[in-house]
Structures are given as structure tokens and as C-alpha cells.
């Protein structure tokens, strides 16, 4: 019998027999959902084309609900392995990867898959490592910080704030940093003949993107392995070979390295046979029921999101939300290509960078003279930033379920956790920009669509997480020296 079942849960006396209405959390949770419904109806009454933006909000709400339900944070997938020897979240993440790969394959067969592969290079590994180091200190990945914000955690809100502003700053930084950029990148960027207003030879990130990343190749496994059929390419090439097989192998690895010893000891199995190990792997998968369920649901939801956005693009005859915004008369904040950031699937960090850039732009800082904002993503008003509303949806969805489960609590960080949030968030921002996304955009969305660059990002994130745990342990040891933790 598990500890969870064996443990006696004590409830506060005043809550025994309380009605549904008697619990304020239920009322607040219902109010949030009602408010989103009301705002959605109002937006649709103004213009039915806002449905495109509303899809992001409602899927965000769904992500938030399942993230909080399963305590689903990919930071703990790597961190808890090294920190406390717990594979719970790593397993949940792999379940989600397998399910999303199948739903993404269905969407590809339907012809509305919105995924674009990432160029593969050293930047993915390095970005992943910096990101992985940062998430140990922030206590959450990019999505995790959003859902924990929905639980009332102000420290996690600081992480989101830090990611937003530092990313916006990184992509516009020039000056002395220009001198550190390899001359070959500068020359290559200049040769791209980009519009003068982007000033691509001024700013390290522009030169990194135009002079290095754009020269790299990327692709999906279905194309790289030469699968001609749409079905075989999507299901065998991308889903099975690119995501399911590596996930199963990683699960077996996790079982043997992290879980097996404790499992066999608890079951008092001295000479294990194959069936014992198979039962052990299953026991590992279901050891945290909520996380496994969340992994399943998030995998399905992410595919459904991709399908819904793809269908809407077909319906409106567009490739990017910017076209729809321009058609609706909202041209402010579009890129010079009339585009905005519009991945069409679960993504986190870029819209947060746009929030930071929008505020900096309002403060008078020139933010659009670069590739990231000026050419590709734009800096739309947060009120019409569709992926931005997905992030807000995650916060609201998490708040709904945290309130309903009586787990919502305003938590003000102390100086230590606030510093960790801001510095860790800055590292996550840097890692995300170098790696071209976070654990969602650069890992989850890529590996599930047959883009192997995501596994490289995970490798970097794992190495960074390992280093982060070492550094965190050293910090703990140092703190223990002068506080009452020493026995």
C-alpha cells in the first residue's frame, strides 16, 4: 500500500460537512471561468475573428488546469532526479511526449500541422544547459512558473517578470557585446541583405541569428529518413522513431538507474525476473497517478490545440495571426512582414519577451530594430497578443483548480527566493533565447513532431540541471553553517 493511501488525511473541523457554496474557493474558481466566458462572448460579439485568439486562451486554461492537477513542471523532471532521486515528473513528461507525438501525427495527416523544425547546432545544447541551470533556482520551468503564479506564488510571478524583461533586453543588446561576436557571423549577417531598419550587424542576437542560426539545417525525422507516405512519415518517422521509442528507452533507463532498487526492496524480490522488471516499470509509471493523468491529458490537449489553430488558419486563409489582425485594423505592433508571434501550439517564452518589450517600448526604448521583434514576432499590445493570452490562461486555469482544491495561497517570497527567482529567471531567459525556446517550445513541441533538436535541448537541460543541483547543494551547505539546520 502506498504512503499516499496509508496516510491519514486530516481535515479542518470547520470544513467537515461544508456545502459546495460554503467554500469560497469554489465561488472564486467559478467566477474566473464565468469571467473568461463572458469576455469571450463579448469579444465574439465585436468580431467573430477573435475566435483565433480565444482558442489560445481556452487551451491555456486547459493547460493550466492539468499542470496544477498533476504538479506538472518539467523543471522537476530533471532536477528531482539529481536532487532527491525521484523520477515522478520525468515519467510524466515522457508520457506527455508520447501522447502529444501521436496527436501531432494525426494533425499532420489532417494537413493542418503548424510545426516548424528548429535549426540544429551547438546553440541548442548550450541554451538548454543555461536554461536547465536556471530552473533549479527558480523552482519551476517556464510553464511551471505560470501555473505556480496561479497558485498565488509571487516568487513565480517574479520569475515570469524576469524572463519577460531579460529576454527583451538580450535580443536588443549591442554596444560592447558587438565586439564579442565572431567576425564570420557579422559578415554572414550582413550578406543576408536584410532591411536597413533592422540593423542586423548591430546587436549580438541579430548577428547570432542571421550570421549563425540561419546557416544551419533542421528538419523532421520523416523527411530525413525519406518516408514518402504521409501516414508512415507522421506515425512511424516522427511519432514512433522520433518520440515514442526514445521515451520508452528513457523510461527503462530511469527504472534501472533510479527506481529499480527501491522497488525490488519494497516488494522483497531478491532474484528479479523479466516480469518483475516489467511490473516495476509499470509501478514507476503509475506511482504518481495525478502526474500520469496530467501527462496523458496535456499530450492530447497540445495536439488538439495544434489542430484547432491549423483549422482556423485554413478557414481564414492565413499563415499568421498578424494577417488577421491587419485585416481587423490592428496594425500597431506587427513586424515589418505584418506578422506576430503565432506558433499555433503550446509555447511560453516568446510571448513573455513580447510583454517585456511592449512595456520597454512604451518607456521609450527602441525595441523593434532587430530580427526577433522587428522581422519575426512583432510587439503587439498585450490585449491582442494571442499566445500571451495562452500564458494568462495557464495562470487562470491553475488558479481555478488551486482554488477548488483549497491550495491557493498568496505566498510572498523572502529575499533569498526573490533573488533566486530574478537571477534564475534571467538565466532561463538567456537559455531560451539561445536555444530558440524553453522546455516547451524547444523540447516538448519539437521532439513530438520528429525534430530531434528537442532531445539535444533536453540533454543540455539535464546537464544544466545536474550542475544546478550541485550549486544548490553547495548553497544549502553554506547556509546550514550559520543557521539552525545543523543538528
Amino acid at each position: 500500500m502506498s504512503n499516499e493511501v496509508r496516510a491519514a488525511t486530516l481535515e479542518m473541523p470547520e470544513l467537515r460537512g461544508a456545502t459546495w457554496y460554503g467554500h469560497k474557493g469554489n465561488i472564486y474558481a467559478t467566477a474566473i471561468v464565468a469571467l473568461v466566458m463572458l469576455c469571450s462572448a463579448w469579444a465574439l460579439l465585436q468580431d467573430t475573428r477573435w475566435i483565433y485568439l480565444l482558442v489560445y486562451i481556452w487551451f491555456g486554461l486547459g493547460y493550466g488546469i492539468f499542470l496544477q492537477y498533476g504538479r506538472f513542471c518539467m523543471a522537476s523532471a530533471v532536477r528531482d532526479l539529481f536532487a532527491v532521486g525521484v523520477p515522478r515528473m520525468a515519467v510524466g513528461m515522457l508520457i506527455a511526449v508520447m501522447l502529444f507525438s501521436l496527436t501531432a501525427a494525426v494533425v499532420k495527416v489532417l494537413g493542418v500541422n503548424t510545426f516548424h523544425p528548429h535549426p540544429l547546432g551547438w546553440h541548442i545544447l548550450i541554451g538548454g544547459a543555461i536554461f536547465g541551470f536556471g530552473i533549479v533556482f527558480t523552482g519551476g520551468c517556464a510553464s511551471g512558473s505560470l501555473y505556480k503564479s496561479g497558485e498565488g506564488n509571487i516568487g513565480s510571478m517574479l520569475v515570469v517578470l524576469s524572463i519577460s524583461f531579460t529576454q527583451a533586453y538580450y535580443v536588443t543588446m549591442g554596444g560592447w557585446l558587438n565586439k564579442l561576436v565572431p567576425a564570420s557571423w557579422t559578415a554572414s549577417a550582413a550578406a543576408k541583405d536584410m532591411p536597413a531598419q533592422l540593423s542586423v550587424t548591430d546587436g549580438w542576437f541579430d548577428q547570432f541569428v542571421a550570421g549563425y542560426v540561419w546557416n544551419l539545417q533542421g528538419g523532421q525525422l520523416s523527411d530525413q529518413l525519406g518516408f514518402d507516405g504521409l501516414f508512415s512519415g507522421a506515425f512511424i518517422g516522427n511519432a514512433f522513431l522520433g518520440a515514442i521509442l526514445p521515451s520508452l528507452l528513457l523510461m527503462v533507463y530511469l527504472y534501472f538507474v533510479v527506481y529499480r532498487k527501491g522497488y525490488l526492496r519494497r516488494r522483497k524480490i531478491m532474484a528479479p525476473r523479466l516480469r518483475d522488471h516489467l511490473r516495476g516499470v509499470w509501478s514507476m509509471v503509475v506511482s504518481s497517478r495525478n502526474t500520469a493523468i496530467a501527462g496523458l491529458c496535456l499530450g492530447v490537449l497540445a495536439g488538439a490545440h495544434m489542430w484547432a489553430t491549423g483549422e482556423l488558419r485554413e478557414h481564414y486563409g492565413i499563415f499568421n495571426f498578424g494577417e488577421l489582425l491587419a485585416d481587423m485594423g490592428h496594425t500597431a505592433g506587427l513586424s515589418i512582414q505584418d506578422t506576430v508571434f503565432d506558433p499555433g501550439y503550446w509555447y511560453i517564452t516568446t510571448q513573455e519577451a513580447q510583454w517585456g518589450a511592449w512595456l520597454m517600448d512604451k518607456a521609450g526604448v527602441q525595441m523593434a530594430d532587430n530580427i526577433f521583434f522587428g522581422l519575426e514576432n512583432g510587439i503587439p499590445d498585450p490585449l491582442i497578443n494571442a499566445p500571451g493570452w495562452m500564458s494568462i490562461g495557464i495562470i487562470l486555469g491553475a488558479a481555478v483548480i488551486a482554488l477548488a482544491r483549497r491550495e491557493f495561497k498568496w505566498k510572498v517570497p523572502n529575499l533569498e527566493t526573490a533573488m533566486f527567482a530574478l537571477i534564475g529567471g534571467a538565466l532561463m531567459g538567456l537559455g531560451a533565447r539561445l536555444g530558440m525556446g524553453c522546455n516547451i517550445g524547444a523540447f516538448f513541441a519539437t521532439v513530438t513532431n520528429g525534430d530531434l533538436s528537442g532531445w539535444v535541448f533536453l540533454g543540455g537541460m539535464t546537464a544544466g540541471g545536474w550542475l544546478g543541483v550541485k550549486a544548490f547543494n553547495s548553497w544549502m551547505e553554506w547556509r546550514s553553517g550559520d543557521d539552525d539546520l545543523a543538528i
Partner: protein, 83 residues
């Protein structure tokens, strides 16, 4: 608000990591459980829900017993007996 660890009585300890997010609660719990003797009981107080999942798994793995849980209002008070 700081991490608080104290000996309440013989074989009975208290760790309060309220206000801390991941990975503090689970890492401090692991550190403290590593210092306790077999049969000692630790009362753990925290308010970061996701840490609870990791702590349950950690106890399962080590054979430590979760004696009782009081979860309410986003605050958690658990008692763990070290194996």
C-alpha cells in the same frame, strides 16, 4: 521567514520550510531525514504543493512512512517516520 529545524523532544523533530518553493522543501527534507535515526519522527511544514508529490515519492523510495497529513488552505503539515 527562514528554514526552521528543531528537536521537539527525543526522537521528534520539526522542519518548517513554509514560504519556500521547489526545490527547497524536498531538498531540505531529504537532508534532514538523512540526519535522523531510524524510528525518529519528523513533522514537516510547507506550502508548496508540488513539493509534496516529490516528498511522497522520496519516502516511498526510502521506505519512510507518512504517518499523517493535514492539508488545508495551501498549507501542509505532514508527519514522517524514518525507516
Amino acid at each position: 521567514m527562514a528554514v526552521k529545524f528543531e528537536k521537539v523532544s527525543e526522537g521528534d523533530y520539526l522542519l518548517d520550510v513554509t514560504g519556500y518553493v521547489c526545490p527547497h522543501p524536498q531538498m531540505y527534507t531529504k537532508k534532514v531525514l538523512g540526519k535522523l535515526g531510524s524510528g525518529d519522527v519528523l513533522t514537516l511544514m510547507f506550502d508548496n504543493p508540488s513539493s509534496g508529490e516529490s516528498i511522497i515519492a522520496m519516502c516511498e523510495s526510502a521506505g519512510d512512512e507518512l504517518l499523517e497529513r493535514a492539508d488545508e488552505g495551501g498549507s501542509f503539515r505532514w508527519r514522517i517516520r524514518k525507516a
